[in-house]
Amino acid sequence: MREKSWREIPIGGMIEDAGNADTYETGSWRTYRPIWDAEKCIHCLACWIACPDSAIQLKDGKMVGIDYSHCKGCGICAFECPDKIAALEMKLETEVND
């Protein structure tokens, strides 16, 4: 974001653009990356309700992927995914090829 002059910004420190932190990427903080296996997933949403970074993506109430621009790789989602299902796996960033 370009740094603006005092004449260009709302007074009083107001932030008018609700949720604009969305444009700030925290994905680079990751050491580990959660890899999701859509085949195994039972859409229980245990990962989604626990993610501190709103990074589990849903569509019509079902998991559809991970928002890697915000996911910090904490691993909570993989830990919460039921052991029998294990649809999420944490991999070292250095070991995944995109």
Binding site: E3, K4, S5, W6, I9, P10, I11, G12, G13, M14, I15, E16, A18
Partner: protein, 393 residues
């Protein structure tokens, strides 16, 4: 049509508040402000106002709740004095920084310690750099008039800053005077409706208030605040003129009382100005060219009016009712020196400290000050020389 009323300063402030009828009033009692809030509480209890009164558990919460209410788009008032103002200081600063046009009568009282309930200006002078506009009042009439004007000043889009209307504890707050008030419909018309730019209650356009503002933007926000305060000078003047048309009592940044040709000028604020006017009139009758420069607005500081008001002065006495410990002179004195700096003035300026903790100041004292001025004219006075009025030696 004016209504002639007999009211104490506290009741005059409450009367203005009744006419303003803010959406929210937050308050916590402290002498000598209590009667103001008692009166307003009666208006609430009798259904004469629609204001929601939040009877908080401390002044810190009074200002905090005021900030919350103003952020929710409400017109908000509170009132306090001394220790109460000191306790809310943290949030006093935040209210100005968040650009919330809260109006707060402050009944001047000496700060503890030792604890004291009487007038001096240590409370509001301690708050002079919080970003609030400060209007000082000479008597109950001015209290009433200033409170009504403060709303228009604070809410002006070029300003959007909170305003303290100050008046001397007991001397004004508890002294009954005859004053003229506006008819309710004129007062309401004068105040008008308030519509804030942002509101917490606008859930369709949600905004964030009071974020963490670091090295990259804090400075820009302060610059905006400086601009708002700078703009306030013109707004205080135009509101004062417009109020004059409505009420017959016009106001400016200062009142330059018989200063035009004056050799000797006293500068003061608050109720002492009334005492000084009596002395000026007496001495004028004796053929002495003396005058009073009354500071009405201390923030923003009226540089231009000071320079104009002192144009003919050979010697000037600056009366301070609070101490700036370790500084050369009291807060008013320093500002006067700064205002004259670079104007090429040759006036001799003497600082007097008086009235701490409610110590009385009489016409005799002020006459003595004028007489001393006659002896110092033409002499250069060290900036750190302070004389005391009414102090036992």
């Amino acid at each position: 049509m004016a209504r002639r009323l007999t009211l104490s300063g506290n009741d005059a402030a409450a009367e203005a508040m009744r006419q303003i009828d803010p959406d929210v009033v937050t308050c916590f009692p402290i002498t000598p402000q209590t009667e103001l809030m008692h009166k307003f509480a009666e208006f609430v209890a009798d259904g004469e106002v629609k204001a929601e009164m939040v009877l908080v558990e401390s002044e810190h919460s009074a200002m905090s709740a005021a900030v919350g209410a103003a952020s929710a788009g409400a017109r908000v008032m509170t009132a306090t004095a001394a220790n109460g103002l000191a306790l809310m200081w943290e949030i006093v600063y935040i209210a100005a920084s968040n650009r919330l046009p809260i109006v707060m009568p402050v009944v001047n009282r000496a700060l503890s310690g030792p604890i004291n309930i009487h007038c001096d200006h240590s409370d509001t002078m301690g708050c002079r750099d919080t970003g609030w506009i400060q209007l000082y009042s000479e008597n109950a009439q001015e209290v009433y008039d200033n409170v009504l004007q403060a709303i228009r000043i604070a809410e002006n889009p070029d300003v959007l800053l909170p305003v303290m209307v100050t008046f001397d504890g007991f001397i004004i707050s508890h002294t009954v005077e005859v004053l003229d008030a506006l008819e309710d419909k004129d007062a309401r018309g004068w105040i008008g409706d308030y519509k804030s730019t942002y509101s917490l209650l606008n859930t369709d356009e949600p905004a964030t208030f009071g974020p963490l503002d670091l090295q990259d933007y804090y400075f820009e926000h302060k610059r905006q605040q400086i601009e708002g305060m700078n703009n306030a000078t013109a707004v205080i003047k135009s509101v004062g003129e417009a109020y004059g048309k409505l009420s017959g009592r016009a106001y400016g940044m200062t009142e330059n009382y018989k200063t035009d040709d004056a050799d000797y000028v006293v500068i003061a604020l608050g109720s002492t100005c009334g005492t000084a006017k009596v002395v000026v009139d007496e001495m004028r009758a004796e053929g002495k060219r003396v005058g009073l420069l009354k500071l009405r607005s201390f923030r923003p500081f009226p540089h231009a009016e000071i320079v104009a008001g002192l144009a003919s002065a050979k010697a000037v006495a600056v009366l301070d009712r609070s101490v700036s410990f370790g500084a050369p002179g009291g807060p008013v004195h320093k500002e006067i020196l700064a205002a004259l700096n670079g104007t090429g003035h040759t006036t001799s300026i003497v600082n007097y400290l008086y009235g701490l903790g409610g110590r009385d100041i009489s016409t005799t004292h002020i006459r003595t000050v004028f007489e001393e001025l006659e002896t110092v004219a033409g002499k250069s006075i060290p900036a750190d020389e302070v004389r005391f009025i009414g102090l036992r030696g």
